[in-house]
């Protein structure tokens, strides 16, 4: 199918309308979603009415670059009038009464919403198997997971049920599913995209970002999503950027850092081969490579699984059955109301993390866990700081291996957590990270390559990814039978 740029051109020249585009994508959703389960909520009427409004805007000559181009939103973003579940039974009956900042911005850009995409419950998971609404299947092999937690958005884009989607990334939730489904996904620097209306998992790590076939699409979508928002105190007040500005820049002289820790034990041979081949390609385009070290990156998973659950245990306290969301049908007293509501409303992985988080914040354990993890977090950030003195961009694999089978890791949480071993450090440091497809393994599954930049160098990451995508077609390939 087509890129955002191409769709925008079709709309601008009147060769198609937003209504027609949305109808095409809705038809594709109707065809593929029963198999892939990428969407939790589809509301064709609502989508088409947004499309008509976009067409009307264009007709009045008031549209912007992406007016009329539809988009799918991860079901973590509150969208007024749309059921917003966060993949949980707890919010299965919750219709958002307001728009998240990201939704507001996409609406202001005139982008109709194709539906709300499936996700791991409260974004806790790396396989999309923790969703109350059932697992998402990988379009490249429906017996395999699409990654998570933004697995629905990734699968929707990979199967071209949407030209682009929003995602969120707390420990790799945009990049890892992008890698496992052969698309491009960008986690911006912390503070670039407003978290207002984005249901919180771990507030100091969560960041929204674009997911689309190519880097150019992501740049266009990030232009819409990014910007200061006074309603989010962690949003950064910076001059607006055009993230497409450097796409065409040649890579001559760009210094690419290769962290030795990202190419050691645990990395599958296929992935290592594809990533190193991509490095060769970039060298041919004029980039230089330097060896760098991130000595503390091995501790990132441990630090993350203290900090993220700690914040989550507190963030999820509001789901108590008192004001909205699931409430147990019967209860004896207040404590019983809380216990039953939360026992019924949350799934296993969410409960596990609430328990871990509650434990590490408890009196007598706080110093040993939470404070210790915060120290590690600073060490990890310092590693990157030092590495970026030697290079412009850090390159490595996004995930240790390609998509695994459904159920393969559900019994072993630690094995599941290790799928994010290369992505988590980026969240802990608050840096931008991008995953792009760089080949396939022997089973025909997509392999992802990760680019990590210094703070606010999104445009540089998009530039490197786009230059690579100008001479490769991995991101344009479609799963068999899905053309």
């Amino acid at each position: 199918m087509t890129t955002l740029t191409e769709l925008a051109a079709l709309l601008a020249t009147g060769k198609t309308s937003s209504v027609e585009l949305c109808q095409d994508y809705l038809a594709r959703i109707a065809a593929w979603n029963p198999t892939l389960n990428a969407f939790i909520t589809v509301d064709a009427e609502r989508t088409l009415s947004e499309a008509r409004a976009a067409d009307a805007l264009r007709a009045q000559g008031r549209g912007g670059a992406l007016t009329g181009v539809p988009i799918a939103h991860k079901d973590i973003f509150c969208a007024e009038g749309w059921r917003t579940t966060c993949g949980s039974r707890m919010l299965a009956n919750f219709t958002a009464p307001y728009d998240a900042s990201v939704i507001e911005r996409c609406k202001a850009a005139g982008m109709p919403c194709l539906g709300k995409t499936n996700m791991d419950e409260f974004a806790m998971g790396s396989s999309n198997e923790t969703s109350f609404f059932g697992p998402v299947r990988n379009p490249w092999d429906v017996e395999r997971v699409p990654g998570g937690s933004s697995g629905g958005s990734a699968a929707a884009v990979a199967a071209r049920m949407a030209p682009a989607a929003t995602g969120t990334d707390t420990g790799g939730s945009i990049r890892q599913p992008a890698a496992l489904t052969g698309i491009t996904g960008l986690k911006p620097s912390y503070g670039v995209v407003s978290r207002y209306g984005m249901i919180a998992f771990a507030s100091s790590l969560d960041q929204g970002g674009p997911m689309a076939p190519g880097a150019e699409d992501c740049a266009l979508l990030l232009n819409v999503m990014a910007g200061f928002d006074a309603r989010d105190s962690t949003s950064l007040e910076r001059a607006p950027e055009d993230y497409t500005r450097d796409l065409a820049r040649p890579l001559t002289g760009v210094r690419i850092g290769l962290p030795r820790e990202f190419f050691g034990a645990g990395l599958s041979a296929d992935t290592a081969r594809a990533v190193l081949a991509a490095v060769e390609e970039l060298r041919r385009q004029g980039a230089e490579t330097v060896d760098v070290s991130l000595p503390n990156s091995g501790l990132s998973v441990a630090a993350y699984y203290v900090l993220a659950p700690a914040e989550a245990s507190s963030n999820l306290s509001r789901y108590d059955g008192v004001r909205y969301g699931h409430r147990a049908a019967e209860y004896r007293d207040l404590t019983d109301l809380y216990e039953r509501t939360r026992a019924e409303g949350f799934g296993t992985e969410v409960k596990r993390r609430i328990m871990i988080g509650t434990y590490v914040l408890s009196h007598g354990y706080y110093d040993a866990y939470y404070l210790q993890a915060q120290k590690l977090r600073r060490l990890i950030a310092r590693d990157f700081e030092q590495a970026f003195r030697q290079c412009d961009v850090i390159l490595g694999p996004t995930a240790p291996a390609t998509a695994f089978r459904l159920g393969e890791k559900t019994a072993d949480p630690v094995a599941m957590y290790l799928s994010d071993i290369y992505t988590i450090a980026v969240n802990l440091a608050g840096l931008p990270g991008l995953s792009l497809p760089c080949g396939f393994d022997t089973a025909g599954l997509p392999i992802g390559l990760q680019l990590i930049g210094d703070y606010f160098t999104e445009a540089r990451l998009l530039n490197v990814a786009h230059q690579y995508q100008c001479i490769t077609d991995w991101h344009r390939r479609l799963p068999a039978g899905m053309s």
């Binding site: 966060c86 207002y196 306290s317 108590d320």
Partner: protein, 483 residues
């Protein structure tokens, strides 16, 4: 009990509601008394995805308080989450300040029987109020009103420096005067704008270590504060004398029975799992802002008390009474400034005497006095120039209070002008002496009492208008034959 053997130790925690128009982390209004849940926005309801944004006005008020008690202002202070479940706590945590409060180490001087005493203030921190649980009128269910949720509070924690209920009340009153004086709190105790928790323990006189304390929660009047502490101290002494140990606990005061009763024991105390709120950045205070607030601070009660004694020659008692509220002091100063001849004692006597009595009778605040300072000054001017006696002035004041016009109008209308014409007074004296020959005889026989009776008769004959000093002098002259 044996009062001499035991010493009561008291520390207070005061929650002062800050006088901002909107809430501490949302834009909803803070006005009291609105219909339930009409002043609770998405942030106050803790809808999924909402975020707090700090109200600068609340920070400003905390800084003003710090400046008024000579405290340290932490240039960097941090909001933490205090986690616990309760239906009127929508997020499942309260945003408060734990490890790094905005205000630390201040002091307040209070008046005690034998002079003054300094009460140290450990800290004051910003936090949000919870909502209210309404247990009546819901047929066995509980209603939740979240209008109060998110209202800004300054929690002011004293050292255990008070040694009697009286001292605790004196401190609470001084604090109440101060927070209303500097305008950071409206001080309305019925509406809960100023709530007091008292930590009470007892120990044998001479013992250095503190006894085990119990905390009396939510005292909303000075009278209850005094009653509750007195009861609690007696109760603790009796328990100890009966051979029991005091266990740390939180108790409630029942104004009907005048007793405290256990709310929860130490074992039932929550583990609040405090940690820094990742949704809010550390608050960084700008020196210029602090200096600006310092220079805008009004003259404080203690400064005024000192000035009234040193410069105006008033007693400590008068100075204290005149600075009981800022409005009283302002009235006094305006009155003094408007008097034709400066006479602080005269002004003080009127403010604390007739004016205060009249205001108390109708429970009216001095700021809303029907007799303004300028009007009272013109009345007292007539006392100073001899037009009115003190007694007549009281009559004129009553008429002014009743709205009959200004002092001169009333004096003219009622013919209350003091009789100072010595010829006319002598004529009255002659009449009275003629009609009271017996009294004249008695006086001449040495009975001083008879003199007073004659003065009374002359005053009566003048319908109270004769200048009493003149009557005295002229009468004595006539009686002693020195005429």
């Amino acid at each position: 009990m044996n009062g001499a053997r035991w010493e009561t130790v008291i520390g207070l925690e005061v929650h002062a509601q800050l006088s901002t128009r909107s809430k501490i982390f949302s834009g909803a209004a803070t006005a009291f008394g609105a219909a339930p849940n009409t002043q609770a926005c998405a942030v106050d309801l803790a809808l999924p995805g909402v975020l707090p944004v700090l109200n600068r006005g609340a920070v400003e008020r905390a800084i003003r308080f710090a400046l008024a008690i000579g405290a340290r202002i932490n240039r960097i202070n941090v909001f933490d989450r205090k986690n616990y479940f309760y239906p009127d706590l929508p997020k499942g945590y309260q945003i408060s300040q734990f490890a790094l409060p905005i205000v630390e180490a201040g002091a307040l001087t209070i008046g005690v029987d034998d002079g003054e005493k300094v009460i140290r203030i450990t800290r004051a921190h910003l936090e949000e109020d919870a909502g209210k649980s309404l247990h009546e009128d819901y047929h066995g269910m509980t209603g939740i009103d979240l209008n109060r949720a998110g209202t800004p509070l300054l929690e002011i924690v004293s050292e255990p420096d008070m040694r009697s209920a009286k001292e605790a009340v004196a401190y609470a009153r001084a604090l109440h005067t101060l927070v209303t004086w500097i305008g950071i709190c409206d001080g309305n105790m019925q509406e809960g704008s100023f709530r007091v928790d008292a930590n009470v323990s007892v120990r044998p006189v001479g013992q250095r270590e503190f006894g085990t304390r119990r905390e009396i929660k939510n005292l909303n009047s000075f009278r209850f504060l005094e009653q509750a502490i007195d009861y609690e101290a007696r109760w603790q002494i009796e328990r100890i004398e009966d051979g029991h140990a005091i266990e740390q606990a939180t108790v409630l005061f029942d104004p009907d029975s005048g007793e405290t009763r256990m709310m929860r024991s130490k074992e039932e105390a929550h583990d609040y799992r405090y940690f820094p709120d990742p949704d809010l950045l550390p608050v960084k205070l700008d020196e210029d802002w602090i200096e600006q607030l310092r220079s805008a601070l009004p003259e404080l009660p203690a400064q005024k008390r000192a000035r009234y004694q040193a410069d105006l020659g008033l007693s400590a008692y008068d100075a204290g009474a005149l600075t009981a509220s800022r409005a009283t002091a302002e009235y006094f100063e305006a009155l003094l400034a408007a008097l034709p001849q400066a006479d602080a004692k005269l002004a003080a006597n009127w403010v604390m005497g007739d004016l205060s009595a009249a205001l108390n009778k109708v429970e009216r605040d001095i700021a809303d006095s029907p007799v303004a300072p300028a009007a009272l000054a013109s009345l007292l001017g007539r006392v100073q120039d001899g037009t009115l006696s003190g007694k007549l002035a009281k009559q004129v004041f009553e008429a002014m209070w009743a709205g009959e016009g200004d002092a001169d109008t009333i004096i003219a209308a009622r013919g209350l002008r003091q009789l100072s014409d010595s010829g006319a007074i002598e004529a009255l004296i002659d009449e009275v002496m003629a009609a009271n020959a017996k009294s004249v005889e008695e006086f001449r026989a040495g009975k001083e009492k008879a003199f007073n009776a004659l003065v009374g008769q002359v005053m009566k004959a003048s319908k109270g208008k004769a200048n009493p000093a003149q009557v005295n002098a002229l009468l004595r002259r006539k009686l002693t034959g020195m005429d």
